[in-house]
Amino acid sequence: MKIKKGFVLRTICGQNVISGEGLDQVNFSKLISLNDTATFLWKAAQEGDFTEEALVSRLLDEYEVEKEVAEKDIHAMISQWRELGLVED
């Protein structure tokens, strides 16, 4: 799967947020806020096609978490991203 075109990660007021942007359009009425871990994963996911497993291993490389916990959290996060329409297959 991959992240849909048109979402830009910005730092506003120390907060990492994703806003929907077209070529000449920026929408601040719907911002999605990311914590540090989610920001790290968003950047990893933005590199191109990704899978849940790939993100789990990136997370394990960077943070000290147990594999089961990482798998569960990433699954939940990606379901949420899907729900919000941020990713496509």
């Binding site: 506003i12 947020v17 000449d24 920026v26 601040f28 009425s29 806020s33």
Partner: protein, 158 residues
Amino acid sequence: MEKLIINNDILFSKVVELLREGKTVTIPVKGVSMLPFIKGERDSVELESLCGAGAGRSVSRGDIVLFRYAGRYILHRVLDPSGEKIVIRGDGVPEGCEYPSREEVFGRVKRIIKKGERPVDPYTGGRMAVWRIWELMRPLRRYMLALYRRLVWPGFCR
């Protein structure tokens, strides 16, 4: 989902920066000062640039604009664009105007985005006519707003 609150000055300096580049920027609206035409906390507005390299037009009477005045960013309507300072007032404000200079007027509302409805062009002949009537009745505005809040939109802004 949690509501994300961003400091006004920081958000707006970003918005103005993007407008200067000629981008169209959508922002949520707060407050009651543009009632009955724009409802704060419910509507968003799409802004087009009036400043910098991206400016596509100049200001006209009746335009709803984003500007900075007395250190605040405000979205109100232009009454008189002819002078050195532009005369602006909120549709939902009974008295008092703002007088920003031209350089402090950054963007113009192109469309009003209302939840679950099609985006609204505020400058159609019909809507401008309604606004002109609303302007003519300004001496009664205080009472009309009170009535509006009571009848049309109860439960709002206590």
